[in-house]
């Protein structure tokens, strides 16, 4: 059964490159991916009962900050144990610290290589 990995990023370019990067994992049947270029749409789907195995989110987005969105997910009893990774150009210790405090599992800095992203997903979802 493939695990569901959600990508949330306002940039379609980033979503496209991320999709290309994880293509081998999709083709091997390890994961299925769902992408959102509007964080609000993702939150609205979550409210309707949508679930996932890993959330990978941008931090600086136009309408809602990725960390605020992650906080909302962590406050949802149904999803609070789901791992969340930040995928962002934001590289300051302060923001990472905030992410850690919210309960993020890790922080990936853009630009990222496909190998880096795949390794991170495999590690979090324990895919061999």
């Amino acid at each position: 059964m493939p695990k569901i990995v959600v990508f949330v990023d306002d940039s379609k370019t980033v979503l496209m490159t991320a999709e290309l990067a994880v293509k081998p994992l999709v083709e091997s049947g390890d994961i299925e991916i769902v992408t959102y270029d509007e964080a609000m749409n993702f939150l609205s789907d979550v409210e309707k009962g949508f679930t996932f195995d890993l959330l990978i989110t941008d931090v600086n987005m136009p309408k809602i900050n990725g960390l605020d969105m992650a906080k909302q997910i962590k406050n949802n009893p149904r999803l609070k144990l789901k791992p969340i990774l930040a995928l962002t150009t934001e590289n300051s210790q302060k923001m990472k610290m905030l992410g850690k405090q919210i309960g993020l599992t890790g922080w990936i800095t853009k630009p990222f290589s496909p190998t880096t992203l795949v390794k991170a997903i495999k590690r979090v979802l324990r895919i061999r």
């Binding site: 940039s11 980033v14 496209m16 610290m97 599992t105 496909p114």
Partner: protein
């Protein structure tokens, strides 16, 4: 009261300046640009009158810099062009007062006298305190905040209280050290509390615990970033945090960047001249032209159309550059155009479909950016796309090169918590 500074962006003397002259109240006048370049010029001043007519968008920045230089300086904002929103922003950034124009002479003199009283109070409120906790000084403000820590949740609450105000890497490191000590004490069933105290230069956070062997904590301190700023005895451990700006000037680049003020779309559009914001129409035209050319390239895959796409991206970059504030984004778009110009035939032939998808998504991102800022004005930070666009450019470049050379280097940092 020692010194008054008047900062303005208009050479014409202001009414309150003529009052100062009539009453022989000495003051020094500065241009806003000089202050933005060198805030140290305000060192030693007691009251700053900030009168901005053109540089309103710099207001938050200037006020914060002055307060970082010296918290005691009284900042009085006065501008004929201020809206309620500007006043709120100025006050929340640390301004002490706002003078609504027109102002009369007696009001100005009364205000100046009030500032003198306020200043005396600010300068003299530190006194010897009998009930102090920290191990550094007894000359602290009369207030303190006490956190009783019995379990990890209490410690998290304490951490949360301070972390958002930590403005330097050094402070973050010290707070993390305190958190670790707290965790260690909880694990060892030591009930304790932490008291926060302050004077003009420092904050002091002091653990008060049931006696523990000093060597344990001492060993932890030696290995940590607090070793120069910690003192301890059998019952207490105090750590001091610098309030002054000297430390901030040594901050690494990324932290400094993070501290720059965010500008919302609405603020940007409101404070930008119409002739600049109307360049948005030109951007829309270029986006349309780009879509047409990308459709064309999608079917023809010819070099000439690709060149035209590169030129359109270049034009987009130049227009964005003219709109103030977006030089970083402009640079990123320019990089894309440059890459298209310089890409070799082989890379283009091998990746034509991928290039088409990349172009469509880039144009989509730019349309979303433009409408989010200029049309819907719903973006809370107009720079949200800048770094992301630069990263996307690098990413695309790597992706296309990888497809050509069949190599994948491992790059991009991952940190697991």
């Amino acid at each position: 009261m020692k010194n008054i500074a008047v900062i303005g962006d208009n050479k014409k003397p202001k009414f309150f300046e003529s009052v100062f002259k009539q009453e022989s109240i000495e003051y020094d006048k500065f241009n806003v640009k000089d202050i933005l370049d060198n805030i140290q010029k305000l060192e030693g001043f007691d009251v700053v009158f900030l009168n901005l007519e053109h540089n309103i968008k710099d207001i938050t920045n200037i006020i914060k810099n002055i307060k970082n230089l010296d918290k005691n300086i009284i900042i009085v904002v006065t501008s004929p062009n201020f809206t309620g929103n500007h006043i709120n922003k100025a006050i929340s950034s640390g301004a002490d007062d706002f003078l609504k124009q027109p102002i009369n002479k007696s009001m100005i003199l009364k205000k100046v006298s009030n500032y003198k009283t306020l200043l005396d109070f600010r300068k003299n409120r530190i006194h010897e305190n009998e009930s102090f906790y920290n191990l550094f000084t007894d000359k602290i403000f009369s207030r303190n905040t006490r956190f009783n820590i019995n379990k990890e949740d209490d410690l998290s609450e304490f951490w949360e209280y301070f972390i958002l105000n930590a403005s330097s890497e050094d402070s973050l490191c010290k707070l993390n050290f305190i958190f670790s000590i707290g965790e260690w004490l909880i694990r060892n069933n030591n009930k304790f509390f932490i008291v926060s105290e302050e004077d003009r230069e420092y904050y002091y956070l002091t653990f008060k615990y049931t006696p523990i062997p000093q060597t344990v904590i001492h060993n932890l301190i030696i290995k940590s970033c607090v070793k120069e700023s910690a003192k301890m005895d059998d019952f207490r451990l105090s750590i001091k945090f610098n309030k002054t700006t000297q430390q901030e000037t040594q901050l690494p680049q990324d932290i400094k960047e993070e501290k720059t003020t965010t500008i919302s779309a609405k603020e940007f559009v409101d404070s930008t001249p119409l002739e600049i914001t109307t360049k948005m129409d030109a951007l829309e035209d270029i986006e349309e032209a780009l879509t047409v050319k990308i459709n064309q390239f999608s079917s023809n895959k010819d070099r000439e159309t690709l060149k035209a796409i590169g030129e359109l991206f270049k034009e987009y970059a130049s227009t964005v550059f003219l709109m103030n504030e977006f030089d970083k984004l402009s640079e990123a778009i320019d990089k894309i155009a440059e890459y298209i110009e310089n890409a070799d035939e082989e890379t283009i032939d091998e990746n034509a479909d991928l290039i088409v998808s990349v172009f469509y998504s880039l144009v989509d991102d730019l349309i979303k950016w433009r409408t989010g800022i200029f049309v819907n004005q719903e973006t809370s930070d107009i720079h949200y796309l800048d770094n992301s666009m630069i990263a996307s450019c690098l990413q695309i470049e790597h992706l296309l090169n990888k497809n050509s050379s069949n190599q994948d280097n491992d790059y991009g940092d991952v940190e697991f918590f």
